[in-house]
């Protein structure tokens, strides 16, 4: 679905990604873990065209997108849910969701998005209850649901989630990840960036570990879960005992 080869990305003169290779398989959850500053968010920004990058990103059906801008990429249904949710604070929940349709609806389109809205509401009934509330007034978990729901309105073929668990209570996180798995089971290809390595390895099919802008380890999540290097560096020994 998505093939990334030798990807370099730059913040001004600083090289944040130093040649990364990643393959995202269709219909699977591919996960990206790594410590702070490893380049996870940068990688998603490079795919969505928000940062200067070189190398090769090939999307099934669309070809090379390395030289395309963010609008082209969003219009081709590769949707990035940014870290920190970035919902529109002064728009109601319903209007926030409507904004998500811009990439296939267009400014002056007349198509109806009632079906998409219905789907998102059935996935996140809480959003339906809060339909007319302004974005800023939602709780953190609801805001994350709204951010994901808004991305779903864009009818993505690849959904990229950046740190969906950030700043949420454990019970909210597990509820949210159930939904992410549910979205994936409906056939969505997901690229998930997570700091919560244990959770990420549980839900994903394939995992890449990156550090300092380079890929250091990759494999099926079920294998990595039991890999001694991963346990030591990302899961912690104490955690393993608890399990």
């Amino acid at each position: 679905m998505l093939q990334i080869r030798d990807l370099h990305a730059y913040y001004g003169p600083i090289e944040a990604l130093k040649g990364i290779d990643i393959t995202v398989k269709e219909g699977k959850i591919t996960c990206l873990i790594g410590s702070n500053g490893a380049g996870k968010t940068t990688l998603l920004k490079s795919i969505s065209g928000m940062i200067k990058r070189t190398g090769s990103i090939v999307v099934k059906g669309d070809g090379e997108i390395i030289d395309k801008n963010s609008r082209y990429i969003a219009n081709h249904r590769i949707i990035h849910v940014p870290e920190g949710r970035h919902i529109f604070p002064g728009l109601s929940v319903k209007n926030n969701l409507e904004v998500g349709t811009i990439n296939w609806h267009g400014f002056f389109g007349r198509q109806s998005y009632a079906n998409e809205l219905e789907e998102v509401y059935s996935l996140f009934p809480r959003l339906k209850e809060r339909e007319n509330q302004l974005g800023w007034s939602l709780s953190g978990g609801e805001q994350q649901m709204l951010a994901i729901g808004r991305a779903m309105m864009a009818k993505p073929k690849i959904l990229m989630l950046d740190e969906p668990s950030m700043g949420l209570a454990p019970i909210v996180i597990s509820e949210l990840f159930e939904k992410i798995v549910q979205i994936n089971q409906q056939g969505m290809t997901i690229l998930l960036v997570e700091q919560n390595a244990r959770l990420a390895l549980q839900v994903s099919d394939f995992t890449y570990i990156i550090d300092s802008g380079k890929g250091i380890l990759s494999g099926p999540s079920s294998d990595l879960k039991n890999d001694s290097r991963v346990i030591e560096a990302y899961l912690g020994k104490a955690v393993q005992k608890c399990d």
Binding site: R71, A74, I79, P82, P89, G90, I102, N103, A151, A154
Partner: protein, 298 residues
């Protein structure tokens, strides 16, 4: 002071307030969309007055040709304004650069107007004339006389305010503009062409101010000092609660009415009275009429 004076001053004040409101709305739209306080707003009004005066007086165009042509001019001015005063500086490391450049734009607009149309004040015929006498048309209700120009200004101002509200509250495109204004990064990730929404904002802002200029032209002389009216709009914005459109409209109307009534006692001090109101508001209610909602709307 009899009822006659009160009514005509009130109508006068509200119609001036409408013009300030058109400018004030533009100020807030720009603050929300790109975070820039536009110090050229008054000079955009002045420029609009000159453009419409040129089309009506010099080219002698009838109204049906003048309106579409002036809209074209407003769009062009809006886009040029954006690509000269804002676009090159949007990523400047010094964030006030875009604000300061609007002050430069204000001077440039004044000088351009002087270069094209000369430095002498010009007069614009009233929009509604009495067909029999050729003088300013007035509405007479009993002993009360009101100039039609003021009534027309109130109508046009209300229509524009209504249209802006329809755009942002009811239309899909307006929602996209709001979204782009509130979070540019998220808007771009979803595929909103933020350059287009910014351009649309600039065009709307210029059209609002210029229409104000057109409405005010027959009341004042058209000259390059019209730009000073910007301070009234600014006072309206502050009184309304910085960042709130409804508040800014009410604040501007209040300024207009206070200004009109202050001419009874001290005509030459009406500017001072306007700012006295502003200072009182800053002392008593610094968050403005609708201030508590600023943080919410962000």
């Amino acid at each position: 002071m009899n009822i006659n004076t009160i009514v005509s001053l009130a109508v006068n004040g509200i119609s001036m307030g409408m013009i300030y409101a058109l400018m004030a709305m533009g100020l807030i739209l720009l603050i929300r969309a790109i975070g820039v306080m536009n110090f050229a707003q008054g000079d955009l009004l002045m420029f609009g007055a000159f453009i419409t005066c040129w089309l009506t007086v010099d080219l002698k165009l009838p109204l049906w040709a003048m309106i579409p042509l002036s809209i074209v001019c407003f769009v062009v001015v809006g886009i040029i304004f954006m690509f000269t005063a804002y676009w090159p500086l949007r990523n400047a490391s010094y964030p006030a650069a875009t604000v300061i450049s609007t002050m430069g734009a204000a001077m440039a607009l004044k000088e351009i107007a002087t270069l094209i149309w000369g430095s002498l004040p010009r007069s614009m015929p009233p929009l509604m004339k009495n067909p029999a006498t050729g003088k300013v048309a007035v509405l007479k209700i009993g002993s009360i006389t009101i100039q039609w120009q003021f009534i027309l200004t109130i109508i046009v101002g209300s229509v524009f305010i209504y249209l802006v509200f329809v755009l942002f509250d009811k239309l899909y495109a307006g929602r996209m503009m709001q979204a782009a204004a509130q979070d540019k990064y998220a808007a771009e990730l979803l595929g909103i062409p933020t350059i287009l929404t910014t351009m649309a904002t600039y065009v709307i802002v210029v059209a609002l101010a210029s229409t104000g200029g057109y409405m005010i032209a027959p009341i004042f002389m058209v000259s390059n000092t019209l730009g000073t009216l910007q301070l009234r709009a600014f006072a309206g914005v502050v009184i309304g609660g910085f960042g709130n459109i409804k508040g800014a409209i009410l604040g501007s109307l209040l300024i207009g009415v206070v200004e009109a009534f202050s001419t009874i006692q001290f005509s030459q001090y009406k500017d001072a009275v306007v700012f006295l109101v502003l200072i009182v508001f800053l002392l008593v209610r610094p968050q403005g009429l609708f201030g508590e909602k600023i943080a919410d709307k962000a």
